[in-house]
């Protein structure tokens, strides 16, 4: 996959114009790559600068001194609930992902594999919810969650997001293609449906589960509208809400703000670097994005 898919016919000597074309290709790639990296560079640069460096009249591409002491300053600043909001984001990300995977994969399995008279009708009822964009239901969902008394609570942040029709649909499509022979072997060995699911189906589907988990975690971590709606107390802010509150309203040190932003994307950059295989697979398989 790495070498064979250039559009050159292999074995044919490369002409001068082809070589010039390939130089042009790489030049474009490098220039675009640099453009894509500039915002990351600005994040790090501003994180370790002083406010005067950031807002100085003469814009310097490289700061003169790197201020590492900005990092303890951020976490000790009582005005910026950074540690708390990072923790909230982590809890919402992990529990939300685990819960959604559990609930939706079970439903997807039932819809794909368990014979039931009304399964088709139920499947259409699930499909119908895909038509309603989740972002639009925030008004009615807020009404419901507030009548449950869940505003500014972790369950208000997590629970409504667990029941994703789209994730259940993806799991159903995946389980339809799962080899039946494996399940039949388990049946012969005396396992019931529940046992077959946990001991045969899930262990043989870790790739798919990982891909959906990575994407769901990223979606949860970066979610903004729902946490903004539901997180009315500072104690329930996720990191996205905290950052937004500082940019749109309060005055805060600019370098602190940029450092907070850098810290907030760190977990996802790590996920990208270490789990990129699952991520690319997942995106390519499903084309989903929150």
């Amino acid at each position: 996959m790495a070498t064979s898919s250039t559009t050159h016919v292999r074995g044919r000597p490369r002409t001068v114009s082809e070589r010039a074309g390939s130089v042009a290709l790489y030049t474009v790639a490098v220039v675009v790559a640099l453009l894509f990296l500039v915002p990351f560079y600005l994040l790090i640069r501003n994180s370790l600068a002083t406010d005067a460096d950031i807002t100085g009249a003469n814009w310097k591409f490289f700061p003169t001194v790197l201020h590492w002491e900005n990092i303890p300053e951020l976490f000790n600043d009582p005005a910026v609930p950074m540690a708390r909001s990072m923790w909230n984001s982590l809890v919402v990300g992990v529990l939300g992902t685990a819960g959604q995977l559990l609930v939706c994969s079970l439903a997807g399995y039932a819809l794909a594999r368990v014979p039931y008279r009304h399964a088709n009708k139920i499947f259409y009822a699930v499909l119908a919810t895909l038509m309603i964009p989740s972002a639009v239901t925030f008004v009615p969902s807020f009404v419901l969650v507030s009548s449950l008394g869940w505003v500014s609570s972790l369950q208000g942040l997590i629970v409504p997001g667990l029941f994703s029709g789209f994730t259940a649909f993806l799991f159903r499509q995946y389980f339809l293609g799962f080899p039946k022979e494996l399940e039949e072997a388990a049946r012969i060995d005396g396992l019931g449906s529940w046992g077959t699911y946990w001991r045969i189906v899930v262990p043989n589907s870790t790739g798919f589960f990982s891909a959906i988990a990575v994407i769901t975690f990223i979606t949860n971590w970066n979610a903004f509208l729902w946490p903004l709606v539901i997180g009315q107390d500072q104690s329930s802010w996720t990191v996205q809400v905290a950052l937004s509150t500082f940019t749109t309203a309060q005055t805060v040190n600019i370098h602190e703000l940029f450092l907070a932003a850098s810290v907030s994307i760190l977990p996802l950059v790590l996920v990208f670097l270490f789990l990129q295989r699952y991520l690319v697979e997942g995106v390519a398989h499903t084309g989903i994005k929150g």
Binding site: L106, P115, Y116, V143, L144, G177, V283, G287
Partner: protein, 326 residues
């Protein structure tokens, strides 16, 4: 490794079981009979279906009910007003303005994203050295949230004063600093909104195109070359593009839905500005801003849901979306 995903069921191996197959499956189902399998179904799907009912169907139904009432500062309806809420939002201006903002935004963002994401995919596809590196660089902005990107765009790149990066670069060419966000005319804020979304989204759609490009059989290109077609525009036009049709349709639909749900960057870049409010920002301020008007908010949410459903279905009709055509 097929990208069916957003489409409906495909024929062949993954098709839902027909009646005959289902009866057979029922007959041999692990000895518990039909009743056992019904119980299994509810054991597996019950929690999900209960949640779907409570957190999707009930809110949507409640929203419809609320939209027929006056409900300000309370989530309980106070006075029945019939369709007045709908009439209000459709005639008063801010809501219809928000629909135009969305339309304009989508008209700019969707074609640009399509062309540039495809171009990036072709670029990465043709590169043989350090391909994984370039793919990662183009993909990694997806890790950023709109909130963080808005911050960089607003405070560091498109800052209205001289120390913003964009204005610094313009300064090298002797161009005066531009107030990127603060003014309505000229509407430079579109530049800020569009470039931000491009940076965040291109890598994601590039991956979708890359996956599709890798599935095009190489024999097609080889056959075309033997027939005298030249590598480049001709093969792209007559082989690559038609082979990408299914992916293209899915990508355009995803982009439309994503553009329509735009909220984060508008809210963070242009807080409290009456111009350039897409529908979700309008809804947010109506339902949860001062006055908490849940009656009008619910009506707006339902009109929007109806619109996006119509667009989805219409696009399905036009492009035969969901049909397997490869």
């Amino acid at each position: 490794m097929t990208t069916t995903t957003t489409g409906g069921a495909r024929p062949g191996a993954t098709a839902p079981p027909g009646p005959a197959a289902k009866a057979k499956a029922k007959a041999r189902h692990d000895g518990h009979g039909v009743r056992g399998s019904t119980r299994t179904f509810w054991l597996f799907a019950g929690p999900f279906l209960a949640g779907l009912l409570l957190f999707v169907y009930v809110p949507v139904g409640w929203s419809f009910y609320l939209s027929l009432f006056q409900a300000q500062n309370t989530v309980a309806p106070t006075k029945f007003v019939g369709l007045d809420n709908y009439a209000d939002i459709l005639t008063e201006g801010p809501f219809t303005d928000s629909l135009w903002t969305f339309t304009l935004f989508a008209l700019i963002v969707v074609p640009l994203t399509y062309v540039l994401a495809l171009a990036l995919a072709l670029l990465v596809h043709r590169i043989s050295v350090a391909r994984a590196f370039f793919r990662s660089v183009f993909f990694i902005p997806t890790a950023c949230s709109y909130v963080v990107a808005s911050m960089v765009w607003k405070l560091s790149i498109f800052n209205g004063v001289r120390f913003g990066l964009a204005n610094t670069v313009l300064g090298w060419f002797g161009i005066e600093p531009i107030a990127w966000i603060g003014t309505v005319s000229p509407p430079w804020y579109w530049m800020v909104l569009v470039t931000l979304r491009l940076w965040l989204q291109l890598g994601f759609y590039m991956i979708l195109f890359l996956a599709a490009l890798q599935q095009i059989p190489k024999e097609l290109y080889e056959a075309a070359w033997t027939d005298g077609a030249r590598p480049g525009w001709q093969t792209f036009r007559h082989i690559t593009l038609p082979q990408l049709r299914t992916t293209s349709v899915a990508v355009v639909l995803l982009m439309l839905i994503a553009a329509y749900q735009a909220f984060d960057e508008f809210y963070n870049l242009l807080p409290n500005t009456p111009y350039a409010r897409p529908p979700l920002v309008y809804l947010y301020y109506t339902a949860l801003g001062q006055g908490q008007d849940f009656g009008h908010g619910s009506a707006g949410a339902l009109v929007l849901s109806a619109l996006i459903t119509m667009v989805t279905l219409l696009q399905g009709r036009i492009f035969g979306f969901g049909k397997a055509d490869r």
